[in-house]
């Protein structure tokens, strides 16, 4: 063939393929996300971090179910950008949005990964390595809203990836960054600020923003201001010397109560001897905050660990469930003696902190209902339901600087940022936790503003006199607290859970396995090995009548306890999105 002809044909073919891709672009069928969609998302979509505003991580799709899951096969894969991620693919009308490390965003065709557009944010020289990690964006109307490593909120046009608005919220130079992504509640963009584990004065906050402009509507600090409620719990330390209280996981929301549920992380430095706060409880660290959905005012709070000393954060997702409440004394660790068994309530439940304890509170009032350990822990010995706090182990409290204490779990959990899931089909929570402990000592290290606090050193070890099985996947009845089933294994469960209407529970582990369990029995129904452990959150969606399951491998893999389960090694990097469907 003559060269000129080849060139012409190649040009024609190129134009044809481009036209075909354009013609078939799912962007053409993209419908703006409405408030009604957010309150009751279409089953085919995955519009927000944990699928719904109540953080269930439950997909109503059932094409992939306990009978068909054996035929699950790789549909397509996509190389993700480099850097630590904890990606949640969002899907709307067949368009998948991938918010990756350092706010690199790509929109792809959810059927095959064809790239539609991308947005690359200029990367600042942030001191916090964790600033690269981003868990999610939020879809609303024709916008994809992201919360960035340099502490901005940014709205992108879903059709083009062009910036519609951006709003500076924190100061990245002193450590602020987002890692929990935004949510859209009640017509507002709501996001919690993180990076207050760096030394920045006055602590972190949750703020709400106008969805059309990013303008800040309200801000609620996670550390009390002078003269405010809880000011006295900081032992007279001035506001400029109060640090911590990062809000590093996205909040949940109940439209009926118009309450936003936000978890708060530890005070900084970790030790009360370092902070100078004495026996003060250092509100609102390690608390659940219920915020008014219109104003951000704190309606109630519950402090899971007062005066925390061991980096056992409590910022994780609060799941909202309507259920009968009838905890079994034999099944739960602690319960409120005033409960009328069988009462129906709206509760918040889940594992809010690294201790691995399931906490169930009344969503309207914050009253304690029951709590249950899922892994070995020795930091809490009870619950004071009248004071609305956990009761710390007095043998571990107030360690002196340099004094070694033996604490379980290790400061990476129990559970860390990996998320639990709920299935309404079984009224059960599915929790991936780990048995680990640590030898822990507070450091005499001087931190400075804008720098990491360096509070302590720790060595991860097995639970003493144990079988050294680290990983636990537990199904727990939300009504009674009874364990429905449990998988115990050597490999840790450092992956997040997805439940589906197909009666399946998907989760990854440190051995790189991605498996589907029977939600009722815990039987393994399907599994495959990924290239890496997976820091991404598994999601499920459907396009053209076909159900898919997706998960981002690679990313923030440092939770894997390589020192105590050295047989599970892997290369670093390896960021790949895997998407599965039935053969």
């Amino acid at each position: 063939m003559k060269n000129w002809l080849r060139l012409v044909l190649a040009g024609v073919m190129g134009c044809t393929l481009a036209s075909l891709a354009l013609a078939q672009s799912p962007l053409e069928n993209y419908g703006p996300v409405t408030d009604a969609d957010l309150e009751a998302p279409p089953a085919d979509d995955w519009l927000m971090w944990r699928a719904t505003q109540n953080h269930w991580a439950f997909s109503a799709l059932d094409q992939i179910n306990r009978d068909t899951v054996g035929d699950l096969n790789l549909a397509w894969a996509w190389t993700l950008g480099s850097g630590n991620h904890e990606i949640t693919p969002l899907v709307r009308d067949g368009v998948m949005f991938l918010v990756q490390a350092n706010d690199f965003v790509q929109a792809v065709d959810a059927r095959n990964g064809t790239l539609l557009w991308e947005y690359e944010r200029e990367v600042v020289d942030h001191a916090a390595g964790l600033s690269a990690v981003n868990r999610n964006g939020a879809l609303y109307e024709d916008k994809l809203i992201i919360a960035t490593h340099d502490a901005f909120l940014v709205a992108l046009d879903v059709q083009t990836g062009q910036v519609e608005w951006e709003q500076a919220v924190g100061d990245w130079t002193v450590g602020h960054h987002y890692s929990g992504g935004p949510q859209v509640f009640n017509g507002q963009v709501v996001a919690g600020m993180s990076g207050c584990y760096y030394i920045n004065e006055g602590g972190c906050w949750v703020s709400a923003h106008d969805v059309e402009s990013g303008e800040e509507l309200w801000r609620t600090y996670t550390i009390p201001r002078p003269g405010g409620h809880g000011d006295e719990t900081w032992g007279g330390v001035p506001l400029e010397s109060r640090y911590g209280g990062s809000a590093w996981i996205a909040p949940s929301y109940d439209p009926e109560l118009n309450l936003i549920f936000q978890g708060v992380a530890v005070p900084i430095p970790w030790g009360s001897a370092q902070r100078g706060t004495g026996e003060g409880s250092v509100l609102y660290t390690n608390s659940t905050l219920a915020l008014d959905g219109d104003t951000g005012e704190i309606v109630w709070y519950f402090q899971h660990i007062p005066n925390e000393e061991w980096d056992l954060d409590h910022p994780f997702e609060r799941l909202i469930v309507d259920t009968a409440v009838a905890p079994s004394e034999d099944a739960v660790s602690w319960m409120n003696p005033d409960i009328e068994p069988g009462d129906s309530r709206k509760v918040i439940t889940g594992i809010p902190g690294k201790t691995g304890i399931i906490w169930t509170l009344d969503a309207a009032t914050g009253d304690f209902l029951w709590a249950k350990e899922t892994n070995y822990q020795n930091v809490l010995v009870g619950v004071d339901h009248e004071e609305r706090t956990g009761i710390p182990n007095p043998d571990l409290q107030y360690p002196e600087i340099g004094e070694e204490v033996f604490v379980c779990p290790h400061l990476l959990g129990g559970l860390n940022w990996q998320s639990v899931a709920y299935s309404p089909g079984t009224n059960a929570l599915y929790t991936p936790t780990n048995n680990t402990c640590m030898e822990y000592a507070l450091n005499p290290v001087q931190p400075t503003i804008g720098a990491h606090h360096g509070s302590a050193r720790s060595t991860r070890v097995h639970v003493p006199d144990s079988d050294e099985l680290v990983g636990l996947l537990t199904a727990t009845d939300v009504e009674t607290g009874e364990t429905l089933w449990q998988v115990r294994q050597r490999a840790g469960f450092h992956g997040s859970v997805l439940t589906t209407a197909g009666d399946l529970v998907f989760v990854t582990d440190d051995s790189r396995q991605f498996r589907a369990f029977d939600a009722e029995t815990g039987d393994v129904l399907w599994g495959t090995y990924l290239n890496s452990t997976a820091a991404g959150y598994p999601v499920s969606f459907a396009v053209d009548g076909e159900q898919y399951v997706a998960i981002g491998a690679g990313g923030s893999t440092s939770s894997s306890p390589r020192s105590i389960t050295p047989e599970f090694q892997q290369n670093s990097g390896g960021n790949v999105l895997f998407v599965f469907k039935l053969k």
Partner: protein
């Protein structure tokens, strides 16, 4: 010198060859794509990272040059910056991940590290100290306070949080009956301590002497304080050294030998005198 070159080549080869052979529990989980997997042969050259915003940076650089003279090698500096610039900063405010990357990609040793026993991760190792400087107490020049013991019990003492002198205060306070203690008020950096002394928020401030000198010399806003006695607190000294990766133990031993030489021969003391900042050879 040929032997030095050979030794450094061996050290570099060792370092690059066993990047992941020795496992450290708390080694940063930095993706390999951010790390240079091959370390170039440097010839007669040692490359030092230095945090130039630190008050000790000029002295740190001078020490490194003196070490180069002893080892008969060239010395190069990689200037490390951070997003935030704080007056009177006395150490390196970068993350462990960044530290790890710099020591893998950019330099053999990081200057200006405060040496403390058992507080650093296992993947880091340190040279012997090449310098030391004390902490001081300062009060407003118009106050009657001449020593820490003049501060009434229950009143505030400001400190650079968790600095060596702050640890002394915590320990001393803890030995007193509850009603006889001062109110320790930790601040995030030396400049903030001095500000709070000058605005009367605290009766006395405890901070590092080189940082205090830097602050009062560089900014008139910090005029108005006086150094007072630490009594009854015991004195505290910060010792300075260099950080390396633990796998680079051979380079560390070379640097240790050179530091011993410049300390014993009075070079370090001479450098302190030239710098006109408080400090003594360790």
């Amino acid at each position: 010198m040929r032997w030095i070159q050979v030794l450094l080549v061996v050290a570099s080869a060792t370092a690059s060859g066993i990047v992941n052979a020795q496992f450290f529990e708390d080694e940063p989980d930095v993706s390999r794509e951010f790390l240079d997997q091959v370390r170039q042969l440097e010839g007669d050259l040692i490359r030092f990272c230095v945090y130039d915003a630190s008050v000790t940076a000029p002295f740190d650089r001078a020490v490194a040059r003196a070490i180069g003279d002893v080892l008969l090698v060239d010395v190069e500096f990689v200037s490390i910056t951070s997003a935030i610039q704080i007056e009177g900063l006395d150490f390196v405010p970068i993350s462990a991940d960044e530290f790890y990357i710099h020591l893998q990609n950019d330099c053999q040793a990081f200057l200006g590290m405060a040496l403390s026993a058992d507080v650093y991760p296992d993947w880091l190792t340190f040279t012997r100290p090449y310098g030391a400087a004390p902490f001081v107490a300062v009060a407003h020049q118009d106050s009657d306070i001449e020593a820490v013991h003049d501060v009434e019990r229950g009143e505030r003492i400001g400190t650079a949080m968790l600095s060596e002198i702050d640890i002394r205060l915590i320990s001393y306070n803890g030995s007193l009956p509850e009603g006889r203690r001062w109110q320790r008020t930790p601040y995030s950096h030396n400049g903030r301590v001095l500000e709070r002394v000058l605005d009367g928020s605290v009766d006395i401030g405890l901070l590092w002497h080189p940082a205090y000198e830097y602050l009062v010399r560089s900014n008139d806003a910090f005029d108005g304080a006086k150094i007072v006695s630490l009594d009854p607190l015991p004195g505290a000294v910060r010792r300075m050294g260099m950080a390396l990766r633990s796998n680079d133990s051979f380079v560390r031993s070379l640097l240790d030998d050179a530091i011993e030489v410049i300390v014993n021969e009075g070079v370090v003391q001479e450098l302190y005198q030239q710098s006109d900042f408080p400090g003594v050879a360790p």
